[in-house]
């Protein structure tokens, strides 16, 4: 029993947290939950979230609790996608190779300018950037502190939500590819010029 009688009891707190996550329009962060449930310790809420995560993980239910975009959200179990498609709610999102490549580069290299993206891809990316901006998967972060002050881009919360990512750190690890066919003969090249150019790291922020 908690000293303050008016507080929600632990079992009930879990139920309240469940309701809040269910009703919220977007993934609900621990910060936000703590400010809504101000009577409770952050640590207490965190413990409840851990419990819920474990519980849903084990249950095999059709609803799963995921950590995504810095928050918690209920989603349908991905294995059931084929059945859910039959509800025909909306057309599933589809990406061309070029959009995916551009998104990947921005995700891993942000903040990044258009010129840097185009150097990496070897093709013009203006149209794709515009589309990704329209879809809110990327955003303008500001301008880079270099001559010409080019715009710099980064990914959005919507990007994380779309790809079910908890945060940017949970992006799949970039594989260093040394060779395509045969083992490399030369020792590894040093700094990429790219790293140098992106390495003026003070992006205007």
């Amino acid at each position: 029993m908690h000293p303050k009688g008016w507080m929600i009891m632990t079992g009930n707190l879990r139920s309240v947290v469940e309701s809040l996550i269910f009703v919220a329009e977007a993934p609900l962060s621990l910060d936000r939950l703590s400010s809504i449930l101000e009577e409770h310790e952050r640590s207490e809420i965190r413990a409840v979230l851990e419990e819920l995560l474990a519980e849903y993980e084990l249950s095999g239910r059709g609803i799963v609790l995921v950590e995504v975009a810095g928050g918690y959200q209920f989603r349908s179990r991905p294995e059931h996608a084929d059945y859910l498609k039959r509800l025909s709610r909306t057309r599933p999102p589809k990406f061309g190779q070029s959009s995916l490549e551009t998104l990947a580069i921005i995700a891993y290299r942000q903040p990044i300018t258009r010129a840097e993206i185009e150097y990496l891809r070897g093709v013009d990316c203006g149209g794709i950037l515009k589309t990704l901006l329209d879809k809110k998967l990327i955003k303008i972060l500001g301008k880079k502190d270099v001559p010409g002050r080019p715009l710099i881009y980064g990914t959005t919360r919507e990007f994380l939500e779309l790809f079910s990512l908890k945060n940017l750190a949970s992006l799949p690890t970039l594989k260093e590819i040394q060779d395509l066919v045969q083992p490399p003969i030369y020792e590894e090249q040093g700094e990429l010029p790219l790293t140098v150019s992106a390495g003026g790291e003070e992006t205007g922020e």
Partner: protein, 271 residues
């Protein structure tokens, strides 16, 4: 350094007629095409036989033209890069003057780095696509439950992005009658930009000198826009201009925000 011509007769032997079409569509750009050629020829990426690869690359562009496909400029740029590398490889190595570094970088090195880097992100893109995609693999609860409407909430991050702001402005301008559009056209925006910049500067520090305004870029248009911006701000009585002596620096200070700040020296210039 030049590799023996290990031409595998033609790269596209295995794809006849309509098969080409498939290939054409498959390449995301010149780097993608080059990676394909390197794999196809089973050559070492650190020792690309430039002559052979270049020839195949050009063959491919030729093919695109024959098929009436747009050969994007990006492909042409790479073609010229390849030819450049090829000709540099043909130069005798000690052609550089004696002071040069003992070991010239392989002319192909930059390209190799780009290819490996590109390959890395190409792979990453494939990884991304395997993640559970919202709306394809996973779904969230439908949002239009009327009973919960008033309880619905937004996320804590601001609902608006910079891009929305520009787009909103663009929309406003696009909706204007054509004539008006010209009135608010490009040159004026430059002045507005400069006004914004000056106001920002004045938010950051008490005053700036006239010269401070011209440090960044010095094109003629920029000078004019800046000058007009200062005039406009003066007219609006938003800045105060003072000069220390006849040849001293001209100072621009905010007239609105700190009215208490009485100025000595020459008073408001009437521009």
């Amino acid at each position: 350094m030049i590799n023996p011509q290990q031409d595998s007769s033609s790269l596209f032997d295995d794809s006849h007629g309509l098969g080409y079409q498939v290939h054409v569509e498959a390449f995301e750009g010149p780097l993608d095409l080059l990676l394909h050629l390197i794999r196809k020829n089973e050559v070492d990426i650190y020792d690309i036989p430039i002559a052979a690869i270049t020839r195949q690359y050009l063959e491919y562009l030729e093919l695109m033209k024959e098929l009436n496909l747009d050969v994007a400029g990006d492909f042409l740029v790479m073609a010229s890069t390849l030819l450049q590398i090829k000709s540099r490889l043909l130069l005798p190595v000690q052609a550089e003057e004696e002071g040069g570094e003992e070991e010239e970088e392989d002319p192909r090195a930059e390209l190799v780095r780009r290819l490996l880097e590109y390959q890395k992100y190409k792979e990453a893109a494939q990884q991304l696509e395997l993640l559970p995609l919202l709306g394809r693999d996973a779904f969230v609860r439908a949002r239009d439950l009327t009973e919960l409407k008033e309880l619905q909430t937004a996320d804590e991050s601001p609902e608006v992005e910079l891009f929305d702001l520009v787009e909103a402005f663009r929309r406003v301008l696009a909706d204007l009658p054509v004539q008006t559009f010209h009135e608010v056209g490009s040159e004026q925006i430059n002045i507005a930009d400069r006004i914004n910049a000056i106001l920002t500067l004045l938010q950051e520090r008490k005053g700036v000198t006239f010269e401070d305004l011209f440090t960044e870029v010095t094109t003629r248009d920029y000078l004019i826009a800046t000058f007009l911006a200062v005039l406009e701000l003066c007219k609006l009585k938003m800045v105060k201009i003072t000069q220390a002596g006849s040849f001293g620096a001209i100072w621009i200070t905010s007239a609105v925000l700190d009215s208490a700040d009485a100025s000595e020296g020459v008073d408001d210039h009437d521009w």
